[in-house]
């Protein structure tokens, strides 16, 4: 019988942050990876790269609908039917243009859906089977933007805030079980999602470093992981700024 391979499922597997997490996982040894995204072709490229890096790993690719609840439910049922999962990473998300969201309710709705509702539905679909198996780590990528609403991106921030409050509740529900829930809050990171910010000269964290902190946080089962770590402190200050001061800040 072959050695036991850790089973990892990634939602939004084409995300740069998630892809770098996957590279770290296959580097540590052979794993059984299930990559889920909305586009099979692009996910296959990610899978091919991981297979070259780790020929011993098993890498499966699935295409999914990320917003339809019955489709999500069916997909997760199929994944857990094969066997118990050790780690789930819910990574998908998209940074909307705040100004557009203010003008166009459809854009606003889509941003709230993909960043807030969709990840929560995936997490909820996995939580039941994982609780039953009494095993595994469920990691969800939120954002520092979810820590306090700001005029420059509060629609995205609200969706990420939804994820944070959801994760908090799920942690409460699963406390004392064998299931860990990890909420990840990256700071601004150099990925395709922030390419336009980089052009404007924003300082962005290196995606490899962020992925390393996420993988470490998941291994330790930490309830909240800020990546890079300094954002824990920065956001604590931001959260506690009195409203009179905060409202005068142009952030």
């Amino acid at each position: 019988m072959p050695d036991y391979q850790k089973r990892i499922v990634i939602l939004g597997a084409t995300s740069a942050i998630a892809e770098h997490c996957a590279r770290l996982w296959v580097k540590d040894g052979a794993v059984d990876l299930t990559l889920v995204s909305r586009d099979l072709g692009r996910t296959e490229r990610v899978a091919a790269d991981l297979r070259v890096r780790s020929p011993q790993s098993v890498v499966l690719v699935l295409e999914a609908n990320f917003v339809d609840p019955p489709a999500i439910s069916q997909l997760v049922d199929e994944i857990v039917a094969v066997g118990a999962v050790d780690t789930v990473l819910i990574a998908h998300g998209s940074l909307p243009d705040q100004a557009v969201c203010q003008q166009d309710l459809t854009a606003c709705h889509d941003a709230l859906t993909v960043n807030g509702i969709s990840p929560v539905l995936f997490a909820e679909a996995f939580a039941g089977p994982m609780q039953k198996a009494n095993h595994g780590t469920l990691a969800i990528i939120g954002s520092v933007a979810g820590d306090r609403g700001r005029k420059s991106n509060y629609v995205y921030g609200a969706a990420k805030g939804l994820v944070a409050r959801y994760a908090q509740g799920l942690q409460h529900r699963l406390a004392g079980t064998g299931v860990k829930v990890v909420l990840i809050k990256p700071g601004p990171t150099n990925t395709p999602m922030t390419a336009h910010l980089k052009q404007q000269g924003a300082r962005l964290a290196n995606v490899e470093d962020v992925a390393r902190l996420i993988v470490k946080g998941i291994n330790q089962g930490k309830p909240v992981v800020y990546a890079p770590g300094k954002w824990a402190l920065i956001m604590m200050v931001i959260r506690h700024l009195p409203r009179v001061v905060f409202n005068r800040m142009d952030i």
């Binding site: 740069a16 490229r45 990610v46 091919a48 790269d49 070259v52 890096r53 020929p55 395709p192």
Partner: protein, 403 residues
């Protein structure tokens, strides 16, 4: 890549001059194209995207018994950059340049077309793109034939030499039996010419402990250049004597042997805010000794010695690319602190020697060569121009090709 402005691909920016710069246009960062596509462990054929770093390939392949046949003196460069400059390494006399091992290139043109080319498929496009300075399109993928290797170790030998005649004799004697040769040459003491010849072969020595790669960072740009006449003289003396003392045979890990500067991050900062210039030429063998001697003479006279001067013979083979730098002969690579006009004057005198000897200058390390010297050194330039992508332009192309 869709944009009205002219652009140029950008890898890790390890070129010293302006090949990868485009002050009035856009830069297409290729480092996001960092995925492997396939690797056949039986044949050693690797396919990857163009932003993959050579160092990542080495770390992936060496434990599986394969190695890049050609790498430059740093492994922090992209596959696309290595192709676009058709880079050379210590193995040129045996294995040629990087392009000799590329089996296929996928090139994205700004008109939206994709061109697949290789030695056996659209060889003219291949020959234009290898060494093509990024001007024929953006390389998105490549297939590279790796070379069998037993492990990460090399059997190396360091031999001091007293003058250029000894250098050429050592080169001649080493070329058939040693896969890697390079030498460090002292440009300052006694009119120059003494140096250390280093050679190496892959060694099958079984598992050993790999040295810890401690990174040394030059943490800030010192207000003035730390490389001045005095420190240079001291450095050259110290380096020469230290290494001479170490000369002889040793089993060495490939990283310190191939990429000695990669552990000194931001090492270029020692030159201070004005930075530095590189000057690398190749001159044909027949006139090589005299031309190198003449260049060393000019450098010694100027007193602006070179911190890192590298002298190596290239093998007797024609390069793949129309604008590839390596040609049969001997190459001298020099580093100078930027002393403004004085340094540029010295370069003009070096140019005259290179021109006279029928040599050429390496565009990857150039920011100032006269257009006429470029045209004289690269006789296939006119042929090359037919393959340029009209949507691509760099500071170098405008300087040396007019657009």
């Amino acid at each position: 890549m869709k944009s009205s402005q002219l652009g140029i691909a950008y890898g890790m920016g390890r070129s010293y001059g302006d090949v990868c710069l485009n002050p009035d246009g856009v830069l297409w960062n290729a480092t996001g194209l960092d995925r492997f596509i396939s690797f056949d462990e039986v044949t050693g054929l690797l396919a990857c995207e163009a932003g993959v770093l050579l160092g990542d390939i080495q770390r992936l392949a060496i434990p599986r018994g394969w190695i890049l046949p050609v790498t430059p003196g740093t492994q922090i460069v992209t596959v696309g950059g290595a192709i676009a400059n058709d880079v050379h390494g210590k193995s040129h006399h045996v294995l040629g340049s990087f392009g000799n091992h590329v089996k296929k290139i996928t090139l994205a043109r700004t008109d939206g077309t994709l061109i697949e080319c290789g030695p056996a498929m659209l060889p003219d496009w291949f020959s234009a793109t290898v060494g093509g300075l990024g001007l024929t399109g953006v390389i998105t993928e490549a297939e590279i034939q790796l070379r069998r290797v037993a492990g990460p170790w090399l059997d190396t030998e360091t031999v001091p030499y007293a003058n250029l005649d000894e250098f050429f004799a050592l080169s001649e004697a080493s070329e058939s039996a040693w896969e890697h040769t390079v030498s460090w040459i002292d440009c300052i003491s006694g009119g120059g010419g003494r140096g250390l010849f280093m050679r190496g072969n892959p060694a099958d020595v079984g598992p050993r402990t790999v040295p810890q790669g401690h990174n040394l960072i030059v943490p800030f740009v010192p207000p003035i250049s730390l490389v001045n006449r005095l420190s240079l003289r001291l450095f050259n003396m110290a380096y020469f004597n230290f290494k001479k003392w170490q000369s002889g045979r040793a089993i060495v890990h490939y990283e310190p042997f191939f990429y000695p500067l990669d552990n000194i991050l931001e090492w270029n900062r020692i030159y201070g805010p004005k930075g530095f210039f590189q000057y690398q030429s190749v001159v044909p063998r027949a006139l090589g000794r005299d031309a190198v001697q003449a260049m060393l003479g000019e450098i010694a006279r100027s007193g602006d010695g070179s911190f890192l001067a590298v002298l190596k013979t290239f093998g007797n083979r024609q390069p793949v690319g129309m604008l590839s730098f390596p040609q049969p002969g001997v190459t001298l690579a020099l580093d100078f602190p930027n002393q403004g006009g004085r340094t540029l004057k010295l370069f003009e005198r070096l140019d005259a020697i290179v021109r006279e000897a029928g040599g050429r200058i390496y565009p990857a390390k150039d920011a100032r060569m006269p257009r006429e010297l470029f045209e004289a050194g690269y006789p296939l330039l006119n042929e090359f121009l037919k393959y340029r992508d009209p949507g691509i332009s760099s500071a170098l192309s405008r300087r040396l090709m007019g657009y």
